[in-house]
């Protein structure tokens, strides 16, 4: 029984620390979005590069990073609530947000892998066409 309690304490400690660092990671991600916005404004003022493409890439990256940061923040909040209230529902909510976080990264990676495969395909066709 005592052994089980130690295990659970260790698990709770790991969960609490994961939640704490997830919250800090979300905050730094929001700060990075703010910094990117500043760079965008300075870039527009200094008239560097194409404004349309810069704004477009900023919107895309901001949407993705905000979704990731919000999921991390909600994961952290629900883990803390779950540990405090000792309620299954909060842990399930926390895990749902963590799943969404990994899902977004996974989908981005799938798109990147698809583009990489397309690049290699085009590259191979060009090489074959040359010989």
């Amino acid at each position: 029984m005592e052994n089980m309690e130690i295990e659970t304490n260790q698990l709770h400690d790991n969960m609490a620390k994961s939640a704490k660092w997830a919250r800090y990671l979300a905050y730094i991600t929001f700060a990075s979005v703010g910094l990117s916005f500043l760079q965008l404004i300075f870039g527009i003022i200094a008239n560097k590069g194409s404004i349309a493409s810069t704004v477009f890439s900023f919107i895309i990256s901001t949407v993705i990073t905000t979704i990731l940061a919000m999921n991390l923040l909600n994961f952290s909040k629900n883990i803390h609530l779950g540990l405090f209230n000792k309620d299954h529902l909060y842990f399930t909510q926390a895990l749902t947000h963590l799943k969404n976080y990994f899902l977004v990264i996974g989908v981005i990676f799938l798109i990147l892998l698809g583009l990489l495969a397309l690049f290699f395909l085009v590259f191979t066709i060009v090489i074959i066409a040359r010989f």
Binding site: T8, H12, L25, S32, L35, S36, F42, T92, L95, T96
Partner: protein
């Protein structure tokens, strides 16, 4: 979904929680493998860069045309700096990949065995991954801030 309180000295997940953990395990293992593949590609690129630097430079000069100053910089040691940056990036990718893969494996193991030790290990790897990501995000934010100050500060 049930909203029952947990016993004070035990930890268990309900069916919905286990389903989410299963999905997390799958996605984190996939992301971990992709990180390791990208890390391997970068490592291979570093070896190829160092082995065929002269030939590569000749091709790049033919395609884009690089000024003398840049060629001189690359020949003096720039290639080692690029190689170092590539190796560092691949090490970061390997660490991230390993931590995520282990987190996913331990989560799946917990669902199969119901052993709390597996869940403890899973959350240890998750904690390390998030901490590592936080450190990287801090470094990235600081570098971004410095580059903003240097780049835009110098224009006015």
């Amino acid at each position: 979904m049930e909203n029952e309180p947990l016993a004070s000295n035990t930890f268990s997940l309900d069916i919905a929680g286990k389903e989410q953990l299963q999905n997390i395990g799958k996605w984190s293992r996939f992301i971990g493998v992709v990180f390791i593949i990208f890390g391997s590609i970068l490592l291979l690129a570093t070896v190829l860069l160092l082995a065929n630097f002269e030939a590569l430079m000749t091709e790049i000069i033919k395609l884009n045309g690089i000024d003398e100053e840049m060629i001189d910089m690359l020949e003096k040691g720039g290639k080692y700096f690029i190689a170092f940056a590539l190796v560092l990036s691949s090490v970061i990718l390997f660490i991230n990949g390993f931590l995520l893969f282990r987190f996913g494996s331990k989560s799946s193991h917990y669902l199969g065995s119901q052993s709390e030790y597996s869940l403890i290990d899973a959350f240890t790897y998750l904690k390390k991954y998030i901490y590592f990501s936080f450190v990287l995000a801090c470094i990235s934010a600081i570098l971004s801030l410095i580059s903003t100050i240097v780049f835009f500060g110098g224009t006015h």
